[in-house]
Amino acid sequence: MAQEPILTARGLVKRYGRVTALNNADFDLMPGEILAVIGDNGAGKSSLIKALSGAIRPDEGEIRMNGKPVSFSSPMDARQNGIETVYQTLALSPALSIADNMFLGREIRAGGFMGKVLRKLDHKAMERIAREKLSELGLMTIQNINQAVETLSGGQRQGVAVARAAAFGSKVIILDEPTAALGVKESRKVLELIQSVRARGIPIVLISHNMPHVFEVADRIHIHRLGRRLAVIKPKDYSMSDAVALMTGAKTLDQAA
């Protein structure tokens, strides 16, 4: 792998009072890959992800995007740098339509007097783009783009959230437990969706507890333990039980190899 990583973190430290959530954690994401992040509860993976997505500010350490140091004070900051996060809660507004949700916070304004002076939104353009983005990702089982999000199924909502993340020229997409709340068939859809996003060249950070899903889609697996990166493994070199043993501390890297 001669490529430069697109997103790196070195020596991240985050303490909450006397609890250390991140203890000198490192992180590397290569262009075009799916990197899974696994770890036991309390291992600090959500703190790591929050630091990368701008939801928390690490006490120490450095994050670099394409080699340049960056510092995010809010999720908006991270988004402006091209890091989109799909949260486990999805962050969709139930009463608003699919199109409204996709463009929330970056609405397109109409041209001319209506747009400039009266700040009128270009609903037509937003609906058209939303429909395009959803069909690109094979999500056009949703018939009506003006449907309120609360009328969609769990998988469809996940699809809308992923489409929103993938739609805006993003450089990195972070997916937090995208299949945790879904059924078998819907999980499959989301995994296909992840692969079609990767096929478009966008690297993905996937946080999941579901080992079969992780081993299926990930190019590399980042194992987080006790606040730091324990190892990065390739799924073809290790078994699922090795990975679980590593992340829970039942085995060390030498024993598992």
Binding site: P75, M76, R79, T85, Y87, T89, L90, A91, L92, S93, P94, A95, L96, D100, N101, L104, G105, R106, E107, R109, L118, R119, K120, L121, H123, T141, Q143, A148, E150, T151, S153, R164, V184, K185, R188, E192, Q195, S196, A199, P212, F215, E216, V217, P235, K236
Partner: protein
């Protein structure tokens, strides 16, 4: 495990998926007429209040005939609800964010007193005094907004406190002094601007009525066709989701309360036109009346749902009941009793409609 390829199930239990139905989950939707109604009302939040308005106008029209069903009487209702409608527009914005503004009436009165006193006590040109009234109104709202959005205090408590503070300031500052109508007319007629009227046949539309209608129309446009309006719904619906999706929730809330204060100042100016004089004791019940209009208008107290048009219909329903019952010669307490029933029914209907979403 080999390099993953798209769309090939990797796990035994998933192999059967390819045989499963490819269609979008569709269910035999058999809706009873009641469920159809419920669904329709869910998608058009101001329909309930419009239906109630039309029915009540029809019933009173049938009972009272031309005494009620005349251009004059119907336009009289508009005049009587103009202040409530304007304050209700401010209240709608706040309630849309799942908040409440108890200080609307007090801010309205303080603004009107400032418009009057700055003109007559300090000799300001009335236009400047009016501007000062708007600034003070917006400033009170802004303080509410900062306390709610930055200090994270509950809106109910913040605006309850602000109500008392503003009302007390109003009495202290004005020394409980009323500026009589004749003095306004002679020296600063612009303060009574909204009392002017347009006559169309028998109908009398004061400028206050026109202001209310234009304000509601403008807010309807803003809420449906601008990013600010979409964010308003998103913030009321689920503030955490809105924040993560990229809406600056704190700034949104601050702007909503500040705008509410500004609209209350407009109501203060319109109030001078309505009662003719500048009185620090006027508009005592504007906060309760505005909340009533909002609730009967079908705007959800839980935020994120409803339409400012519904608020207008809600205010009109109250006006129709008030005038209709007075013309029938009933005790005015019957009006209050029926409004009370309407409020509870409106909230019950809101809950029932919400079930349609689940």
């Amino acid at each position: 495990m080999s390099e993953p390829t798209a769309a090939v199930p990797h796990h035994d239990y998933e192999k059967v998926i390819k045989d499963s139905s490819k269609e979008v989950a569709s269910f035999e939707v058999k809706r009873t007429p009641i469920q159809k109604l419920q669904h329709f009302l869910h998608t058009s939040p101001s329909a309930v209040s419009l239906i109630v308005l039309v029915v009540s106008v029809t019933v009173f029209g049938a009972l009272l005939g031309s005494k009620f069903f005349s251009a004059f009487s119907l336009s009289l209702i508009l005049q009587q609800v103009a202040i409530t409608g304007i304050v209700g527009a401010a209240q709608s914005l706040v309630i849309m964010t799942a908040g409440i503004d108890l200080s609307v009436g007090a801010i309205m009165v303080l603004s009107s007193v400032i418009m009057g006193q700055f003109t007559f006590r300090y000799g300001f040109p009335p236009e400047i005094a009016i501007l000062c009234g708007f600034i003070v109104g917006a400033f009170c709202g802004f303080i509410n907004g900062i306390l709610v959005s930055r200090m994270k205090l509950p809106p109910f408590i913040v605006t309850l406190g602000m109500w008392q503070i503003v009302l007390a300031s109003n009495f202290l500052y004005s020394a409980n002094e009323t500026i009589p109508s004749q003095q306004l007319q002679a020296e600063a007629p612009i303060l009574q601007f909204f009392g002017n009227n347009i006559r169309l046949g028998g109908a009398v539309f004061t400028y206050g009525v026109v202001a209310m209608v234009l304000l509601v129309a403008a807010l309807w446009y803003v809420m449906n066709h601008t990013a600010w309006g979409r964010h308003l719904y998103a913030v009321g619906d689920d503030p955490d989701a809105a924040e993560l999706a990229g809406v600056n929730v704190a700034r949104m809330l601050t702007s909503v309360y500040a705008l509410s204060g500004l609209i209350c100042a407009l109501a203060g100016w319109a109030l001078i036109g309505r009662i003719g004089s500048v009185s620090p004791t006027a508009g005592q019940f504007a906060n309760i009346e505005s909340i009533t209009a909002v609730v009967i208008g079908g705007i959800s107290l839980f935020g994120g749902r409803g339409s400012v048009l519904g608020m207008l219909f809600g205010a009109l329903i109250v006006g129709v009941f008030a005038l209709g019952l007075r013309l029938l010669g009933t005790d005015v307490q019957w009006t209050y009793l029926l409004i009370g029933v309407l409020i509870i029914v409106a909230v019950a209907v809101d809950q029932w409609i919400r079930k349609a979403a689940r």
